[in-house]
């Protein structure tokens, strides 16, 4: 794997990450169960990292490897630090099933492991590359409220 922390994103503010990591022999089923449990949990641990737009884990090749992709705001380094600091248990529960996982903490070996397994995208497209997660959420909130306001003005008085 190309040893590069480089993102395949051509955009200034948004970074993409694609990680391909081999799953330990025979642990794919257990991993799938962990992921399923996270999926149906009320609150995703990912939510704690407020810079992630989208993220997914996919088990590939009949359990041979795990794919992780995400799109996030800011730099690669800061993003990884967030991961390591905010949801170390979650990461351990997932990537602990992968070969060579050093643990989400301390930071340096974790960073090295991610670096080693990252593949930069050859082509990356973002529909609104200049917006951070918070900006998007904020704008959506504005829209919802504005709509309600404009509609209140428009509504005819109800007859009943």
């Amino acid at each position: 794997m190309s040893p590069s922390a480089e993102s395949g994103s051509p955009y200034e503010n948004i970074t993409e990450m694609t990680l391909l990591t081999p799953i330990k022999d025979g642990e794919a089923d257990e991993l799938a169960q962990v992921l399923a449990a996270v999926q149906i949990a009320e609150d995703s641990p990912i939510k704690k990292i407020s810079t992630i737009h989208y993220a997914r884990w996919v088990i590939l090749d009949e359990g041979a490897r795990l794919l992780f992709t995400s799109n996030f705001d800011g730099t690669w380094e800061k993003y990884l630090r967030d991961f390591s600091e905010k949801i170390p248990e979650g990461l351990d529960a997932i990537w602990g099933h992968c070969v060579g996982w050093p643990g989400a903490q301390p930071f340096a070996p974790f960073r090295k492991w991610v670096d080693r397994h990252q593949v930069p995208a050859n082509l990356f497209y973002a529909a609104y590359p200049e917006s951070t997660v918070r900006e998007v959420q904020r704008a959506l909130d504005w829209k919802e409220k504005t709509e309600r306001f404009v509609a209140e003005l428009a509504k005819p008085p109800r007859s009943s």
């Binding site: 704690k48 407020s50 705001d73 630090r81 600091e85 905010k86 903490q105 301390p106 340096a108 917006s131 951070t132 997660v133 918070r134 900006e135 959420q137 904020r138 909130d141």
Partner: protein, 463 residues
């Protein structure tokens, strides 16, 4: 490199420099910057200084010295002392690069950009920072005399720049606010634990931060020992110090308050001007927090250290009392980002420093230089000072304040905006920059033992 996880801070206060964990509370200070032209003579000079460096050992009643001295080294300074490449490389990247190189991250752009800094603060010559704090001007001068004589005797030790600082007669900083009320409390520092100074815990109480956040070699909030440079003994009991000379545009600030109050409420009634000032900062000028007294200043709150910092923003999620974008809420969001504060406690800063320049008496600008010597202390410049500066002061994205910068110290350019949630007037527009950077550098402030060993050349490549 992990040193020891179970180290107890209190037992090591004698090896930690003063004014880091505990503020000296002295009214005058002098910051002298030296350039070292020769490693050997530089080390010898440092050796002489090290004998008089003030430690963190607590003074007993009546024992407070009339002056103190502390010493820190920039990365160029460590190079100038002849440390080997491997040791130099073990320091964090941002420290190695120095403040000027990090200007994009810090928002030091426009008039605050390094190319606009004072000439002496621009170059690579800020090797050693010597801070003298004193009770009186006389004490300051006499300590300085000693320092000068020692320095003149040393070959190749050149004074690059000297900055004096003193609390104005108002006892406030130059915009008129009582400063320095909120500081993180540190586990094992032997400081009284005032409510609001640590990190909020669920019971409504506060817990001191773990020492590794501020001193190298101790356990930090992540449960791990803070990383130190190698050899470990060099880092142990040391920390990083950020020095910034911040010029304040006092006349502009006062003018802005008046015209904005006029625009918002159609009045320049002093009460409204004060309210606006408080909204920008999050505290009334007395130091009384908006969170505890949103409608008027309250001296009783301001002067009571058991109360004046004892609040969280969690009960004010929309910022109707203290705006989410107010300066103190950005610089320390307390419990407002999440209940257990995990998003805040790794980004705290100990602030030291003092105003400089004369109080502005006139309405219009008198052209004099006045502002603040800003000192920030932490075990990681990038995770603490730089993070706060970039993410909280100049971005605010984490608070859903996309595009808004700190109204008080942010890198605004005249088009800045601030959201003021409340019944009327939701926004302030056209914010400009009230504070510009005149220069600064990142320093490493070693423990006393490490300083002596540095002076002895124990780790130097050439000895």
């Amino acid at each position: 490199m992990v040193v020891s996880v179970g180290r107890v801070l209190q037992e090591n206060l004698g090896d930690i420099q003063g004014n880091l964990l505990h503020a000296y509370h002295m009214p005058v200070a002098r910051y002298a910057f030296y350039r070292l032209e020769d490693p050997a003579s530089g080390r010898a000079w440092l050796g002489k200084l090290s004998d008089r460096v003030t430690s963190a050992t607590r003074w007993s009643e009546g024992d407070k010295p009339s002056s103190t001295m502390n010493v820190a080294l920039s990365f160029r300074g460590l190079e100038a002392l002849g440390l080997p490449t491997a040791t130099l490389a073990s320091f964090p990247e941002e420290f190695r690069l120095g403040m000027a190189e990090r200007s994009e991250i810090l928002g030091d752009v426009g008039e605050s950009a390094p190319e606009c800094w004072e000439d002496a603060l621009k170059g690579d010559g800020l090797h050693v920072l010597v801070e003298i704090h004193a009770q009186t001007t006389t004490a300051l001068e006499s300590h300085t005399e000693w320092l000068e004589s020692v320095s003149q005797a040393a070959e190749g030790v050149v004074v690059e720049y000297v900055q004096d600082a003193a609390l104005p007669k108002t006892g406030t900083e130059h915009f008129g606010f009582v400063d320095g009320i909120s500081q993180p409390s540190v586990e094992g520092s032997a400081l009284p634990e005032l409510p609001g100074h640590g990190t909020p815990v669920e019971s409504g109480k506060w817990k001191p931060l773990r020492p590794g956040e501020f001193i190298l070699g101790y356990v930090g909030e992540d449960g791990l020992a803070s990383e130190t440079p190698t050899p470990a003994a060099l880092g142990l009991n040391g920390t990083f110090v950020v020095f910034r000379k911040l010029h304040q545009r006092v006349a502009d600030f006062r003018q802005f308050l008046r015209t904005t109050a006029q625009a918002l409420w159609d009045t320049d009634d002093p009460e409204k001007v004060e309210l606006l000032a408080a909204k920008l900062v999050g505290r009334w000028r007395s130091g009384c927090p908006l969170e505890l007294s949103p409608d008027q200043d309250n001296a009783a709150i301001a002067n009571n250290p058991q109360i004046n910092n004892n609040f969280r923003f969690a009960q004010d999620p929309d910022g109707e009392r203290c705006p989410i974008g107010a300066h103190i809420r950005r610089a320390n969001p307390r419990g407002s980002l999440d209940a257990t504060d995990t998003l805040v406690r790794r980004h705290r800063i100990l602030r030291r420093g003092l105003p400089y320049g004369e109080w502005l008496e006139s309405e219009s600008d008198d052209g004099a230089d006045r502002g603040l010597v800003f000192i920030a202390v932490g075990s990681s410049i990038s995770r603490q000072f730089e993070f706060v500066q970039e993410e909280w002061i100049n971005k605010g994205d984490l608070f859903f304040l996309d595009g808004e910068k700190d109204p008080f110290v942010g890198a605004n350019d005249g088009t800045g905006k601030m959201t003021l949630p409340g019944p009327s007037v939701p926004f302030i527009f056209n914010l400009q920059r009230f504070v510009t950077v005149r220069g600064g550098e990142y320093f490493f402030m070693p423990g006393l033992e490490a300083l002596r060993k540095l002076a002895q050349g124990k780790w130097s490549a050439d000895s």
